[in-house]
Amino acid sequence: MAEALSRPGKARLGRLFVYGCLVVVALLYLMPLWVMVVTSLKPLDEIYGGSFIGVPKVVTLDAWRAAWSEACIGTECTGLKPYFVNSLLMVIPAVALSTGIGAINGYILTKWRFPGANFVFGLLLFGCFLPYQAILIPMARTLGLLGLAGSIPGLVAVHASYGICFTTLFFRNYFVSLPDELTKAAMVDGAGFFRIFWSVILPTSIPIIVVSCIWQFTQIWNDFLFGVSFTSGSSSPITVALNNIVNVTTGRKQYNVDMAAAMIAAIPTLVVYIVAGRYFVRGLTAGAVKG
């Protein structure tokens, strides 16, 4: 009897514990974002005087304005605006190129298999796990030889090249699950290589196109290594510019501007994540090869 009574009680206690843990962890995970937001909205005096975690007493967008259009990066005091544009100019063509090429590669590697197709896939797959330090020097030299050093098109080429590895993986894994009979039926109907791709395969692959675009967008937008290695000055992407702002050592440190700048750099990927988180997660777990 006593046991029968205590069991539901125990179960409720257990659930309370589970929820408690989950909420505490969630608060810890949200804390940095919270700190970034509130700091970016505080005037500098309040930051040096008050607590870093508290709600701002005075809310001001001055830091955001400064980060966007006034802060100094190197010797130029243009704010993040031009670098934000740089990142956009880099990310859009690179995403489009790598996704398009990845789609057609995935199509070939699943529906038009040729001897050695698996080997080709293996070659591409290893590219996903390449530590980029191993190609940094030759890439810098090659970009120099091609006259692309320090330019946005150069960065686009670099990101598109290494992006192909990931996008091919995404599309291949997706197309593997489409029945081969679909292509066969289209062949009997008289459709050729490109017609089948365009009219039969691509219309079915909207979800994986979204995954690929989101993944590539996030990766390329967030990249720092290629940006810092292959560009300088006014052609840098936003991550490099952000790092420069933050590492300015002269004068009183403007933490509110730093945080606003970090937020500006983070907003595009955060928006993508909030709008299309489901697809983002799929891209992430597809990194585990089979997905």
């Binding site: 679909l182 062949m187 008289g190 009219s199």
Partner: protein, 366 residues
């Protein structure tokens, strides 16, 4: 004219030989069924006829024309797949039209063809739906509609009914048969279901391990199987294959079969060619008896077998009785309520339907 000739066709994947010198030839309007167990190479052969797989050796001719190097679209064929392979993002109408669009057929002609086919298959009300909104049987019809509008020389079907439930499968079987009668087009149809083969085919090719075991009319395959494999594969329950010793008695043969705890049974009056009789007299053979060729013996019957029924399975129209004969398990199909498990019974055999096989090569003896 739309004949199909498969002439010593071979297929190998690397060192793996999937088809070994397959030769089949059928005439205009024939319904050829490729029958065989999973993995015997039926789909491979069908894909080679369609041009979806390359031909390792030999030749395939459609309407007298060699098609080895032609791509599928130039072979004048249409194909229905096991998974239907409907284009998931297109409506039923677009699915049916797709091939015609590629062949740049005028809109008016396309509409007419779609109408004819959808009327024939009773899918007119489904034309604006997507495949995901259709039932299995409806998808099946759409896939056939897609094939019909091509008006091909040759229809190819790869296990088109195997994804349907039992009831629907029987309905669609009848429908395909009706369609064949109506259109009169030559058909090649792959299945591993021997009932489908029996009901649909005008010619059956029984395959095993990439070799055609027998190519004949369905009834001939049933009555005179070329070997033990075919005998067991076609018919359900399968033909009983019983070891026996053959004795010549005048111009006919007698099969002597051991029965446990009883004197040997003698089935007399089996007709056989004189030459075969001479060759096999006194030797071991395999006796093939279809379950329905047993019957309860009347008292006076001469060559009756006395057996003990182990298991009795009523199926409704008749009862299957299982017993031991010649050291193997044998099934007899008897009228209902005439057999009881654990009882002794006398059975007569229709000797005119008996088929004899060589005990070593397992091929039929005539």
């Amino acid at each position: 004219m739309s004949t199909l000739e498969i002439d010593r066709v071979r297929k190998a994947y690397g060192h793996l030989e999937v088809l070994k010198e397959v030769s089949i030839s059928i005439g205009t309007g024939d319904f050829l069924v490729l029958l065989g167990p999973s993995g015997c190479g039926k789909s491979t052969l069908l894909n080679m006829i369609a041009g979806l797989e390359s031909i390792t050796g030999g030749e395939i001719r459609i309407a007298g024309k060699t098609v080895n190097d032609l791509s599928p679209k130039d072979r004048d064929i249409a194909m229905v797949f096991q998974s239907y392979a409907l284009y998931p993002t297109m409506t039923v109408r677009q699915n049916i039209e797709f091939g015609m669009k590629i062949r740049r057929i005028a809109q008016a002609d396309r509409d007419r063809a779609v109408k004819t086919a959808s009327d024939l298959l009773q899918i007119t009300h489904l034309l604006d739906r997507k495949p995901s909104q259709l039932s299995g049987g409806q998808r099946q019809r759409v896939a056939m509609g897609r094939a019909i509008v091509r008006e091909p020389k040759l229809f190819l079907f790869d296990e088109p009914l195997s994804n349907l439930d039992a009831k629907l499968r029987v309905d669609m079987r009848t429908e395909i048969k009706r369609l064949h009668a109506r259109l009169g087009t030559t058909i090649v149809y792959v299945t591993h279901d021997q009932i489908e083969a029996m009901t649909l085919a005008t010619r059956v090719a029984v395959m095993k391990d990439g070799v055609v075991q027998q190519l004949d009319e369905p009834q001939a395959v049933y009555d005179r199987p070329a070997n033990v494999y075919v005998a067991r594969f076609v018919g359900s329950p399968a033909m009983n294959i019983v070891p026996a010793v053959l004795e010549a008695e005048g111009s006919t043969a007698t099969a002597v079969i051991d029965i446990a705890r009883r004197p040997a049974a003698r089935i007399a009056g089996i007709s056989l060619s004189a030459e075969a009789l001479r060759r096999y007299a006194g030797r071991k053979v395999l006796v093939g008896i279809r379950p329905e060729n047993f019957s309860i013996a009347t008292k006076s019957a001469a060559s009756a077998l006395t057996v003990d029924f182990d298991v009795v399975e009523p199926t409704g129209p008749d009862t299957l009785a299982v017993f031991q004969l010649g050291g193997v398990e044998v099934t007899a199909r008897l009228p209902p309520r005439q057999a009881r498990a654990g009882r002794e019974a006398a059975l007569a055999v229709d000797t005119s339907k008996i088929v004899l096989f060589d005990s070593e090569t397992e091929t039929r003896i005539d």
